[in-house]
Symmetry: C2
Subunit: 165 residues, 2 copies
Amino acid sequence: MKLTTFDHFNCSLAQTLSVIGEHWTLLIIRDAFFGLRRFDEFHNSLGISRNVLSVRLKKLVTAGIFEKTDGPGHPEYRLTEKGLALQPALVAMTHWGDTYLPNPEGKRLTFVDRRDGKPIKPVGIYAADGRRLKPKEIKAKAGPGLRNAEPYARTVPLEEVEGNA
Amino acid sequence: MKLTTFDHFNCSLAQTLSVIGEHWTLLIIRDAFFGLRRFDEFHNSLGISRNVLSVRLKKLVTAGIFEKTDGPGHPEYRLTEKGLALQPALVAMTHWGDTYLPNPEGKRLTFVDRRDGKPIKPVGIYAADGRRLKPKEIKAKAGPGLRNAEPYARTVPLEEVEGNA
DNA sequence: GCAGTTAAGTTCTTTGATAGAACTCTTATG
DNA sequence: CATAAGAGTTCTATCAAAGAACTTAACTGC
């Protein structure tokens, strides 16, 4: 009765969730984006219990999302390039929360271009020519990595689905 | 010793994770994007246990992500607009998994514009003028919804952080 | 009308995962 | 050298998930 992992799904989302989908993990990564690097910094910022934090950090290092280095007299955990590449996903979720679970007093954060201070383009789905696409304006096409025997290729003929992601 | 919720964080990401961050939830939503609508469809597609699926669907309906309707003789769960708006986050995570946890036989899915069949622009962070921005080229600015007393405003002075998200 | 079937959801038990506190160990610091 | 601070580990109590069995309700022929 182990907690089910999602590794066995041939699905990029399930694979991703196997690595970053556990309780606390994405918040630890968020804190790392905000500059936290040390065990107790994460512990204090989140109120996560120490044993769980320990397990999570180990897993993230193994996964290549964090790099553990010797800081000035103490270890430090820093995002690798692989970890930094999670930024669009984090920003997309942040943006969704801002929109649908807002703070009544206004936006909590805005992301701006460091160069000119202007807000970034809202994270979304854009066509090659730059048009913003709505959920049902895209469809998924199976690539070489997806066999027809796979669960979610089987359940629904991909080409015929409305609003798939 | 209840499993900690993230509701108390004044953080859009934490709020989002309170709703979609539980085990299985995002895969249920993914399946809904692929056209699944019924209890047993989700159950069969994911192999999730029925009790957990039941709890998750209820929570998603309460959160306004799914809408429960009477289908032809049986209930159906469909994504609301709020649920459909999660698409960019899902696609961003899918894209990350495709890149960093790839299937050796090639891409599993490609997302294309329904209109012309061309692949969408890769999900990422873009400046107002369309330039693609790297993680450290943006910064977060506190808005009216974020007080200085808040945890992650406290931990790090936002303006001085490298590569924050 | 009723036996058989299918689907939706609930209940129950077992076991794994988390919360929280206490503890160990190593490294700075006066 | 004493003390403290930070980084983890260990321990116990409780909660949540896995898996199977059960209940309920609607459809399907006969």
